[in-house]
Amino acid sequence: MADTIIDVRHLAKSFKGFRAVTDVSFHVEKGDVFGFLGPNGAGKSTSLRCVLSLIRPDNGSIELFGMPLQSHREAVLARIGCIIERPDFYRYLSAHRNLEIFGRISGARITKRDIDRVLDIVGLAGRGRHAVRGYSQGMKQRLGIALTLLHDPELIILDEPTNGLDPQGIIDIRNLILRLRDDEGKTVMLSSHQLSEVELIASRMVIINKGTTVVEGSVRDLLRADDINASFEVDDVSRTCALLSEHARDVAIVKHDTHHVHVSLDKNRVPDVTLMLLTNGIRVTSVDAKRKLEEYFISLLQS
């Protein structure tokens, strides 16, 4: 059985009568890239703040590395690198000085070489001596990730790590997270609105809504990863449906309208099905393969 790194049970937290979190439970296992998903106001940030002891939950239990958070706060936090909400730094200080300050109380002995190393990893090696006030949002985000890596933690918690990053930056962070898991054996918890990103890198996930856990499990199991939702734009919807029923029984017709047939199918079957429709005289104007997680997420929240 895998080691449980985070075990949150029946978490609840109210602010002045407003229930931000009602009943959130999830667990993160060693080596997971764990997606923490939910719409705005679902209670993600409040839950993460509880996990990092920024706020005290009204109810529920939190264990990290097998230890209760409340009684082992410092020991637990020494093993975590995190960015919550957004990375905020002392604007009047340089990136290097900021990392020095946070590193000094990280529980590890941080050298200048360590700081240079993490700045290099996130692509800020040449800007380390510049004041943070001159940094773009993307650069602050990179610096935040550098901070999470500084003391070589076992668990990395990232809240919207790709906010403000350009496409290349997003790819870099995605590759970095995968490298941290695969090469260094880190556990990563990722809270994000970028469902496509989570879908690409997460091994397990939890979706919460209105302060309550909706579903938790492996991404592959929950999404049946080889299936996708696709929409075929065609000139004859009724004939298309008939052809699919006759020649492609593994393709499930979800719904159809005047010009579109929405189906669920194995992603490898898209070219065959398209070719079959074309050879049977159907004019296929477009094929739109939807990200499965987006669909799943929306359908879950709607239900």
Binding site: R73, I84, I101, I105, L147
Partner: protein, 281 residues
């Protein structure tokens, strides 16, 4: 160990924060203006003060020497220094809460008590440096510009003449008591800073408390007689007692005890509140 590291962090933040130098700049400017004014026209200033004694007393030597100038500067400015202290210490918690860096620090493996204690210690060090700078400008610079000599002090009981050999320890004692009074301002502003998430609020609130307590302390109304001895502002003037003859040791000891007790109470309240504070910014 982590407490010491955190104190060092807090000191670095204060040293590198541009606002820190506003206080030192303002203090330097104010004292320079007073020194210049007394150098330029000090005799008439002193003549006005000693006019009533000239019929009965004859002064030999220079009344306006560095020792008296230092005393005048202390008397004129010590009431304004709380603002300069609160300017920096008032936002050590709330300023970080507003900037979001408190959230970043609070996820590090340092206890809330140690974190806040380190801020109190750094605030105390800043106050000490401020008082030392004040002493340097007020005493060392004044002595350099106006020379040494016996000191004539006018207090409520009349004139007190202190031998120049008997003054250094009095100033040392006066600055220690002044430091303790300003330390109370520093701890109060940090305490207020725990209860809010905007950086200006605690600075304004601290000054409001200083002004309110000063008014209550000086208002000659019996209804405030009970509370007056416990106001830290009442004891901010305790430094003057070192220039009485004889020095009222019991009064000074009482003032020091009250100031220290208030510091301990304020720090305890702040630690209790900060340990339970939800960091939501």
């Amino acid at each position: 160990m982590i407490l010491l590291r955190s104190v060092w962090n807090e000191c670095i933040k204060i040293i590198l924060k541009p606002r820190t130098y506003l206080g030192f700049g303002a203090l330097t400017l104010l004292i320079s203006v007073i020194l210049f004014a007394l150098k330029a026209d000090g005799k008439s200033f002193i003549g006005f003060a000693t006019a009533s004694f000239e019929q009965t007393l004859s002064f030999q030597g220079t009344v306006l020497n560095g020792n008296l100038v230092g005393f005048i500067i202390l008397q004129m400015l010590i009431i304004h220094v709380p603002l300069l202290v609160a300017l920096v210490t008032g936002d050590v918690v709330s300023g970080e809460a507003a900037a979001g860096t408190l959230r970043m620090i609070a996820t590090k493996p340092i206890s809330r008590v140690q974190l806040l204690l380190s801020k109190f210690i750094a605030g105390g060090i800043y106050t000490l440096v401020m008082v030392t700078w004040f002493a340097f400008l007020a005493i060392v610079m004044a002595r350099w510009l106006f020379g040494d000599g016996d000191m004539v002090v006018l207090n409520s009981d009349g004139l007190v003449i202190l031998s120049h050999a008997d003054i250094v320890w009095r100033y040392a004692g006066a600055f220690v008591v002044a430091f303790l009074a300003l330390l109370t301002v520093s701890t109060l502003s940090i305490c207020l800073s725990v209860f809010t998430d905007n950086s200006i609020g605690p600075i304004v609130a601290t000054m409001a408390v200083v002004i309110l307590f000063t008014i209550i302390g000086t208002l000659d109304v019996r209804v405030f007689d009970f509370v007056r001895p416990f106001l830290f502002t009442t004891h901010m003037a305790a430094w003057r007692s070192f220039f009485d003859q004889p020095v009222p040791i019991a009064d000074i000891r009482e003032s020091v005890s009250i100031l220290m007790a208030q510091n301990i109470i304020v720090i305890s309240v702040a630690l209790a509140a900060f340990s339970r504070k939800d960091i939501t910014t």
